[in-house]
Symmetry: C2
Subunit: 337 residues, 2 copies
């Protein structure tokens, strides 16, 4: 194991002072061209690499983003999660930031936990991905100091957290309008996990649009459970048991839609002739199922990028008040409707 090369080594080699070396490396403009060249040369010769721990200790920052995501055991968000992560990594890289990943136990994250993390200095800002609840600081000056924390997917502005997500209502409006244009008048909504905020927002978006069209009386809600395929399958059983079956089904996620469609086809009904089905998320497989699935594509990659940007803005005070950033989704009509 080759001994680590330090600034002191470079100082010795060049005869310059250690502080000059440091400067030459971190602020090349604050040093003569001559020494800059010399230092760079010797540094690369000796294979110098900045010791990050030392830098962090001295600077008091870590240039690291901590990504906190609920144990993604429910496969539900995981595919979406991957895309988000990609966006986050790309943006972080371009900003010279590191990304640290940590799963969290439940659906709720508390400010005190996050503050603890920030205090250790492992990271100096935090990204919450698909976290349901946020417990604001409880100690005295609650909320006075704005934390460098951003929520992805879940609108937590009400709890004081800047949030980045898809403009979901728009997506569901597009779905409803499309189905109505296709002549459908009776609808079912396959919901996600009970009590999940998203779930509620999405259902309301559908119902609200239908009510605008005078059709909200024609909406049945089916319990879907987790955002996954088995839940969709289960919902389909309830659906098949209905005496008056709606002709169009709107699902809370693509996974639910796929599970639902699978069961419907299995039962001998035809899609979209007997039942039209729409999903939500924009999973890659939706374009290749048979029939292919009408869905709303979330701008996941962009969400990841934007979240990081907002996070840095927050971190260096360019944003001082919580805000919601909602990105437009895109609607794709496919064979299932």
């Amino acid at each position: 194991m080759a001994k680590r090369v330090t600034l002191a080594d470079l100082a010795e080699q060049t005869g310059l002072n250690i502080s000059t070396i440091s400067r030459a490396l971190s602020r090349p403009d604050r040093v003569s061209t001559e020494t800059r060249r010399l230092v760079e040369k010797v540094a690369s010769q000796l294979g110098y690499a900045t010791n990050i721990a030392a830098r962090n200790l001295s600077r008091g920052t870590s240039d690291t983003i901590l990504v906190l995501a609920p144990s993604f055991e429910g496969q539900a968000i995981s595919p979406v999660f991957t895309q988000i992560l990609l966006g986050v990594c790309e943006e972080a890289k371009s900003l010279g930031l590191n990304v640290m990943l940590q799963q969290c136990l439940g659906q709720t994250v508390s400010a005190s936990d996050v503050i603890r993390h920030l205090q250790t200095g492992v990271a100096d800002s935090v990204l919450l991905v698909a976290v349901e609840n946020w417990l604001p600081p409880t100690d005295g000056h609650a909320g006075e100091t704005i934390l460098p924390v951003v929520s992805i997917f879940r609108d937590l502005t009400a709890s004081g957290l800047t949030s980045v997500m898809t403009q979901e209502a728009d997506g569901y409006v597009a779905i409803v309008d499309h189905l109505v244009a296709r002549g459908h008048r009776q609808f079912a909504f396959v919901s996600g996990p009970e009590g999940m905020h998203h779930e509620q927002v999405r259902y309301n978006a559908v119902r609200h649009r239908l009510s605008q069209l005078g059709l909200d009386r024609k909406l049945v809600r089916l319990e879907g459970g987790p955002f996954d395929m088995p839940s969709g399958q289960k919902a389909a059983e309830s659906f098949l048991a209905l005496k008056n079956r709606p002709s169009a089904v709107i699902c809370c996620s693509d996974a639910l839609a796929l599970g639902f469609m699978h069961a419907i086809l299995d039962s001998g009904l035809r899609v979209p002739d007997d039942v039209a089905i729409a999903g939500f998320d924009g999973m890659d497989y939706t374009a290749f199922t048979t029939p292919s699935l009408t869905t709303v594509i979330q701008p996941t990659l962009e969400i990841g990028r934007v979240a990081v940007q907002v996070l840095t803005d927050l971190h260096n005070g360019r944003i001082t008040t919580p805000r919601l950033v909602a990105l437009a989704p895109s609607f794709v009509i496919r064979q299932s409707t």
Copy 2:
């Protein structure tokens, strides 16, 4: 922003020496019960949190694993990747390690890059996920020192890297045997990206098994391109153009299989009656396509966990020579065959 609490603060509060505080916190057994209690009490009162940078600097380690993955833009491995990541995070957490994520540009990672990272101290071991090539150290003592690096998915033991992956050949043997038992005698193999090692290994596994059964003359190979669905679709076009169509198709991934099946069904052929199709990976959607897809499930979560274990073994010298760890997959027969 509440000023950070340091060991010095605790020392002042308790009247004890700073080193005693440090000991009480990190090696509670090396201190009297009395002081231990006192320190713990005051620490939690003041909300003390260890400064990681300082600890790392002092200890010379970071307790961090760097996960390096090729820009997952080709959606190909991404779903699998998520699962791997989950396993990695879980195991890391249970070992008290942090996980840092970084995308890398190409398919190749060089030892010098990794060594640079290790020297900065951001991480003290590295996990390569789906990295195609490894450029061993070029400087003098090449390969003398064993690096704390593990490859996931790709067997890089030949380049001196301990690797963790699925026992893929077993999976393909299972597929072949199953198809033969079903009466198939003519086969097509839809390959992955050209020149990718995996691709070759998998094809060989199929061909070898067929040759054992005296059927290797009956194998057609179709170029699939990237491990994704559009590629599968494209391969299906070549397939449909064949004058003598095989009755069974083995795909290099589930994504390819899905794309392939979509095109086949679109063309009016029936699955499995006209064409039997098998995939590989065990994506969740395979159980819910119509027809559902026969496939081989990779033990992704377990791979992630094991990789971390092996990595730590490597890191503290319990493993001194590169080895291959191949985990058994499981084969699921579904409607598509």
